[in-house]
């Protein structure tokens, strides 16, 4: 491996990590509060879950393509890629937040209310700690998928390790394809292992 290639792998790996990190940050910041809100508003549930489900069914390359002509969020470049990745990551986080909180034993919730906890205390002291594991499992699934999907971001100028893959495809050079695919796979494995470890640490009593 030449020093140039090694350097480029490093640069693109960092770019890839930033892409995934920013997308996951935004997705969590949107989906977790939305999930919490939906536990309090049953009628809204099917609409929001429906939207997230539909987003997930759109093939990723097509979604990147659809976004390009859109004003503000579209166009060529990183921000369009991030919008697409966020849309993909929403569902697992949203669904697991909902499932985690709704899965809290009704007897535990009732006794929290009967002890005189306010809605906020119920959420922070009982529901979120007991749902933490399930929510994190959703974050883990979303993160691993996002790491893979982010390679397609290169198709619309989003950068990241996908740059190698597309370049390799164009020049029929499997070394280049591997230079993108192997680090992406390694990142995914590390993220999966790391988040799995945190998940185990969050023992729900």
């Amino acid at each position: 491996m030449t020093a140039d290639l090694a350097n480029e792998i490093m640069d693109l790996t960092v770019e890839h990590l930033v892409l995934v990190g920013v997308s996951m940050g935004i997705a969590i910041a949107l989906a977790m509060p939305a999930g919490i809100l939906l536990t309090r508003r049953a009628p809204l549930r099917r609409w929001v879950i429906g939207f997230a489900n539909v987003m997930q069914t759109v093939p990723s390359l097509a979604l990147f393509g659809f976004l390009i002509p859109l004003p503000l969020i579209g166009g060529i470049g990183k921000h369009t890629a991030i919008v697409a990745l966020v849309l993909y990551a929403l569902l697992p986080v949203l669904r697991n937040t909902l499932a985690g909180i709704l899965g809290v034993d009704p007897a535990v919730r009732e006794s929290a209310v009967a002890m005189g906890m306010t809605g906020r205390q119920l959420l922070w002291q009982v529901e979120l700690p007991l749902a933490a594991r399930t929510i994190l499992a959703g974050v883990r699934v979303a993160t691993v998928t996002t790491i893979g999907t982010a390679t397609i971001a290169a198709a619309i100028g989003g950068g990241g390790l996908g740059v190698f893959i597309f370049r390799g495809l164009a020049s029929v050079d499997s070394t280049l394809i591997l230079a993108g695919a192997v680090p992406a796979a390694l990142i995914a494995l590390l993220a999966d292992g790391g988040l799995g470890w945190v998940e185990k640490k969050l023992s729900p009593g």
């Binding site: 034993d105 007897a107 009732e110 009967a114 002890m115 005189g116 700690p129 729900p204 009593g205």
Partner: protein, 248 residues
């Protein structure tokens, strides 16, 4: 009105179903009122109206001279201890944190909470050195229920509500806890409302028994009077006591 709690023509309708019909009764300070009845008789519904978990659809429940609807709902609940079947302990809190919950919500200083928790655990027969740091999953059913009682007593509420607290326990543990309940009552002089479908338990713990059937109050009397009372539903419950076991 010297009653600590009084039901005044209380009805409760959930959906189309009338769970409770025009219930009127009072609970004096120091009383243990047992709400006795079959499943679906409305006894738990009546209990939950005392601390505002449910609201009456007609009539009013008055606690310490104020209707439950006029109480600040949070204040009302923190003034009333609540014990349910399987205890409803928080699985992610230690025994100590479970028992100290209401004092913590009330903002007591930590050293005062700790002293209070230790004292309560002693009182319910769980040495703090051994049990304070355990999680609910590391306790037996009877021990969990004791923690539930300690938690209900934590902020020293004048009134305690028990919703079939010993329902899920084995018969031996059940008798032990009933005995402990009587002992705590003698020592602390708390007022209690106690829901059960077990007539034997009702006769043991009650100072007065209210028999409910289909959402209506059938009879309100002392345990001694209950044994002599007449009526179909009363007889149905008293037969449970008479059933002899004949080994085959």
């Amino acid at each position: 009105m010297s009653a600590l709690v009084s039901f005044r023509n209380v009805s409760c309708r959930i959906g189309q179903k009338e769970i409770l019909r025009e219930l009127s009764l009072g609970v004096e300070a120091g009383d243990t009122l047992v709400l006795l009845g079959r499943s679906g008789s409305g006894k738990t519904t009546a209990l939950k109206m005392v601390n505002g978990l449910l609201q009456p659809s007609a009539g009013e429940v008055v606690v310490e001279g104020t209707a439950t609807t006029a109480w600040d709902p949070i204040r009302l609940k923190r003034r009333i201890g609540y014990v349910i079947q399987e205890a409803g302990l928080f699985p992610h809190f230690t025994v100590e944190d479970n028992v100290g919950l209401v004092p913590r919500l009330e903002g007591w200083p930590p050293d005062k909470i700790q002293a209070r928790v230790q004292g309560l655990l002693e009182q319910v027969g769980l040495p703090p050195a051994e049990f304070a740091a355990r999680y609910p999953r590391e306790l037996s059913g009877g021990q969990r229920q004791r923690v539930g009682v300690a938690r209900a007593l934590a902020a020293d509420p004048p009134l305690l509500l028990f919703d079939e607290p010993f329902g899920a326990l084995d018969p031996v543990t059940r008798v032990e806890l009933q005995r402990q309940f009587l002992e705590l009552r003698r020592r602390l002089g708390k007022t209690a409302i106690f829901v059960t479908h077990d007539v034997r338990e009702a006769l043991i713990v009650a100072t007065r028994i209210a028999l409910l059937h289909d959402g209506r109050l059938v009879l309100l009397c002392t345990p001694a009077e209950f044994l002599r009372a007449q009526g179909e539903e009363i007889r149905a419950f008293l037969t449970c006591l008479d059933t002899k076991v004949e080994p085959s």
